[in-house]
Symmetry: C2
Subunit: 476 residues, 2 copies
């Protein structure tokens, strides 16, 4: 499906050469930053800076205009004032450019009448010249595999998650959150006002892209709702599609109109459309990244019967109580452990101060030694009444008791346990007063396919979304 | 009100001397950790370690039993096995001890019959000997002013927020979160099974305590619901009372039973009781600390008409859109700015790429310079249509554009603006890839009475709770 889209947009995600119009040797303009970003990210193709005053930037010659660039140009990034964009589109046609991305803003998102008129003229010129437009008012493409960063230059590892975002700010946030939480992207795109290529085109591309396994989207509105609904429906048939709709409330919709010129439909209409399309609906950046993380790291939903292991250090009882509430509030089941498991826990940890039910409070392990703790966790994980194991680790409480070395040993056991069996293990690491250690631990666990969340609520919600998707797939 | 409680519990929060029963010169036991914690926190009174094998710890003599301690003992911390607690209570009575806190666990939370029998005997002995009991199964008192830390030893600054927590884990988390987010406590207490002194007693104490202005509570259950309801009602009359009830769901209630021996009532009954009492109900540690933070830092609710300032750097439009959604979803109003303010913003920032409505996108400030940004924020803050200003700062986007120096300058302006007028300013600093810088900035803002949150949702929710309380107070 959508195989033609794959070919059509190939020059956008894998261009052999990129020109950056609006580069300057002397002042820090967006165009100049883009040139530096591409160079420092190690973009493997030709980079051609273009700027009327010439000179050099990042050891590259700046060409006074696009037509003077010596080689072929697949893709053009544009950061010049809007009054020059029509002329530039003529240059693009003359150079046989495949696609042009306009960082330039000030169109329909600013004033409806004049902005829309100009957008219409741009579109006509692009069609005549056989050039595709991304934007205007956008930051374009992010492709770690082909070393194309967003404006700010940081690139994460290449992976299996694709995203589209109408907003450049949210797109940048998706990219940086991805780096922080090891959500590794195949590619992403921010398309702003989307006057030519829009959400539907990019979603079709990602559905066909063999590198992409899961798709996330931040959308504010669309000019062609019927097509978007059709596309989402088709895309969700082949890959998980997680959608965050911005501008659901009056204040959000007002901002969306000024931001990408989007006329929002009512939240109820959007919500119904997403449901009908089989998309997974989320309501914030946190929910979007949490959901992408579990889809990336866990093969499929394996059920919602959760074991909660809390109280890795003394006093964890209250944390177990609230973890139980958080899981059940957000859709997980917290079943009774089997008699056999409870007997084993009682043997390993004793009864005093321990909670041998579920949530399991393993605080007695601090007096019984790590082998007892490891056996207890192993035994809970093996329980056939359990589909997924959630472990709450609180650095503020753990570090003083176990020290960093002990903590490393404990987490190496979790990693080893994860590697030798199929049941998902999730770690909840709430923020506190030992942030550097917490972040270090998070990276280790993430690298070993153990998703990490900063609260039990968020973990439970994400696991439930993964399972809802799996159930729907199974029901087909 | 409750003046007698203030006197009655004085030896608990301000003891002149503390004995720690269960100290050891040679092995790391809870009692030994407690002695070290008190010493390193700088507890100003006498510390008397007690342990059957004698010896020395932290340069202090360990007395073989409590009766051998030479001086008077106000307060005793107990970390010995449960079979010795009755004898210890005889010693306490003989030494005229005022209050004894049992870290010792294994009572009604473990097995209902034998545990409850022992608890009853303890209570009888305590009444006969005129000794008050805190616990068993608890970590007792936290009092920064009098240098009494919890088991783990870290002490925050002394402040105006008091708390009670049935759970030691949650109490520890409240203390460490307080240190991280500058929620400064007058005192806190964790009372576990609460067989003698319980939530009601400590709430009455905090209500009367002149050092405490706001009260937070984590409760799992109570043995005397009618008294607790009466107490909460009376306490909420004089100070804001924020209550998190753990064990609302089946899984949570199961854990609560094993944790503090609490028999939970239905969530609906609790919720109704809290409402009737005039308490502010929250559902997680995050909500509890967020709410305590705004109560501590803002004098009162000053209204819910919010201005949202987003897009401090380019591409912030989508962040403004989602911020608008988050605020309205959680109860804030996001009204239109006055014509005058909008004209001023337009003059300062131009129209291209900016959102001059509310949410306000000030991304153009990066091209117009900091003075334009400062004037824009000033003008939004002065708008009479606005009660509270929420500023979203994203380090991932801001740092590359403004550098750390620019960011400091911007935030010094926010601090200066806050200091010269009365309207609350709130900063939202979402986590990302520049955590050390983010945490540093958070500390600076918090120190200047600017509450900081990691998401717009959480900020909006906390402000609304503050305002609901203010409205109820006003309606009396």
């Amino acid at each position: 499906m959508f195989e033609e889209k794959l070919k059509e947009l190939e020059p956008i995600f894998y261009p052999k050469s990129i020109a950056v119009v609006g580069s300057s040797a002397h002042s820090i303009k967006a165009g100049s930053i883009w040139v530096w970003s591409l160079v420092s990210a190690g973009f493997p193709g030709h980079i051609y800076p273009v700027g009327s005053r010439g000179g050099r930037i990042a050891d590259l010659e700046i060409f006074p205009n696009l037509r003077m660039v010596p080689g072929e140009v697949d893709y053009v990034i544009v950061a010049i004032p809007r009054q020059s964009v029509l002329e530039l589109l003529d240059d693009c046609a003359a150079k046989n450019v495949k696609a042009v991305q306009f960082f330039t803003a000030g169109f329909s998102e600013m004033d409806a009448q004049e902005g829309r008129r100009l957008e219409k003229q741009m579109l006509e010129k692009a069609r005549q010249g056989n050039v595709r437009i991304i934007g205007p008012n956008c930051i374009g493409v992010y492709c770690p595999e082909h070393k194309i960063p967003f404006l700010m230059g940081t690139l994460g590892e290449s992976g299996s998650v694709g995203f589209v975002s109408q907003s450049g700010g949210i797109a940048t946030k998706l990219a940086t959150t991805g780096i922080a939480r090891r959500i590794n992207y195949s590619k992403g795109v921010s398309f702003g006002n989307g006057i030519d290529l829009d959400a539907s085109d990019f979603l079709e591309y990602l559905a066909a892209d063999p590198k992409t396994r899961v798709i996330g989207a931040y959308l504010e509105g669309t000019r062609d709702g019927a097509r978007l609904l059709r596309t989402m429906k088709a895309v969700a048939q082949v890959k998980p599609l997680v959608v965050w709709k911005g501008g659901r409330t009056e204040a959000g919709a007002q901002a969306a109109l000024s931001h990408t010129g989007s006329l929002a439909s009512s939240p109820a209409i959007w919500s119904a459309a997403l449901k009908q399309a089989g998309a997974i609906q989320v309501n914030s950046l946190e929910e979007l990244t949490d959901t992408l993380l579990v889809f990336q790291q866990l093969n499929s939903g394996q059920g919602t019967r959760a074991a909660i292991i809390g109280g890795l250090a003394d006093g964890g009882g209250g944390i177990s109580v609230s973890a139980g509430d958080a899981c059940m509030d957000n859709g997980l089941k917290v079943p009774r452990l089997s008699l056999e498991t409870r007997r084993e826990l009682s043997r390993l940890l004793g009864e005093v101060g321990s909670i041998l039910h579920n949530p399991v409070d393993v605080s007695q392990a601090q007096f019984r030694g790590l082998p007892a703790l490891f056996q207890a966790v192993d035994s809970v994980t093996s329980d056939t009444a359990i589909d997924v194991v959630l472990i709450q680790e609180d650095m503020d409480i753990l570090l003083p008791i176990y020290t960093w070395k002990g903590l490393e040993e404990i987490n190496e056991f979790f990693i080893e346990l994860r590697s030798r069996q199929d049941k998902p293990i999730i770690v909840v690491l709430p923020p506190g007063s030992a942030e550097p250690e917490r972040l270090q631990l998070e990276q280790k666990l993430l690298a070993a396919s153990i998703p990490v969340f900063c609260s039990m609520e968020r973990a439970a919600k994400a696991i439930c979304r993964l399972n809802q998707y799996a159930c729907r797939q199974g029901a087909k």
